[in-house]
Symmetry: C2
Subunit: 152 residues, 2 copies
DNA sequence: CTAAATGTAAATAATTTTATTACAAGTTTG
DNA sequence: CAAACTTGTAATAAAATTATTTACATTTAG
């Protein structure tokens, strides 16, 4: 497994921070409620987003703010912030190929570059989608729903 | 986590079948030795590859053969054969967003399409790399090594 | 000072993945 | 046919990863 739920949780968090800005007091507990996970998970992810310069928070201080324009936050920024890049990436190589076997001893060398190409292309895809678009679509979906309610 | 070691194991297996064709008696145990995993894992993956029409094996019969030209087997074929497609794909959505929250209730709708685009682009990347290229590079790496030995 | 938030660590639980054991069933060979 | 070997598969155990929970320190606002 390589892309944890932490990624979609992070996107959810950023969207909620933007959406509830000025409307509600946004705390880790509030966000945890919206996301449906434990507040500690939210705080850990918020810490990652803070370290990445995406949000601003500080101990004791209530209130979470977005630092960057959501047009300038891409899925890649979030993916990287969550720590998916430092690890092994998308692919998980089996760890004990037999070095005494010609294939086992050389497959890693033959595969790594190709897997890296795919990883890079994947990251390029992530760079094409902004949080702004997610937020816009979320607002639209909410508006559509609310309209339906008024009609009925 | 989404792409298991089964993917690289499958690539390893196909490469080994091709490489040892005619040289060694290739069995699940032999392959397990090269890959460094349990023979049962190899058999399960072989079963997937068989179902996908990539290799031919049958109970009792010793000898595994590639059915398709390795030029026509892409990473995507392997990825699909291993069962990565039927599942949830690359991304793992957090499962309990709060439906009572405007964001929690609509984020899924706003995100799904975008994640699907990335998934599709990822699969397109996989389609660009053939097993033939992996096998060629593996043979090359083996040859380079053997040459080094002779020089020393 | 008190209340409320974030920041973290540690222990537990849950989930997923891999390994192992065991045996059934089909082939081949002698 | 019998023996040896192989794939096919189920069931259980072990290992690794992820998520949850509890607890408490730290910081800020009122």
């Amino acid at each position: 497994m390589q892309i944890t739920t932490r990624f979609t949780i992070a996107v959810h968090i950023i969207t909620a921070i933007d959406y509830f800005n000025g409307k509600e007091k946004v705390t880790s507990s509030f966000l945890a409620e919206s996301v449906g996970v434990n507040p500690v998970i939210v705080r850990e992810i918020m810490g990652d987003l803070k370290a990445a310069g995406i949000i601003a928070i500080s101990q004791g201080k209530s209130g979470i703010e977005l630092v960057k324009d959501t047009r300038d936050i891409t899925f890649y920024d979030v993916y990287k912030a969550i720590g998916c890049v430092d690890g092994e990436g998308l692919f998980h190589f089996h760890e004990r190929p037999n070095p005494m076997c010609p294939v086992g001893g050389h497959i890693h060398k033959a595969l790594d570059g190709k897997l890296q190409i795919i990883q890079s292309e994947f990251e390029d895809s992530l760079k094409c989608i902004t949080l702004y678009s997610v937020i816009a679509d979320t607002r639209q979906a909410i508006a559509d729903d609310s309209e339906l309610l008024h009609l009925s």
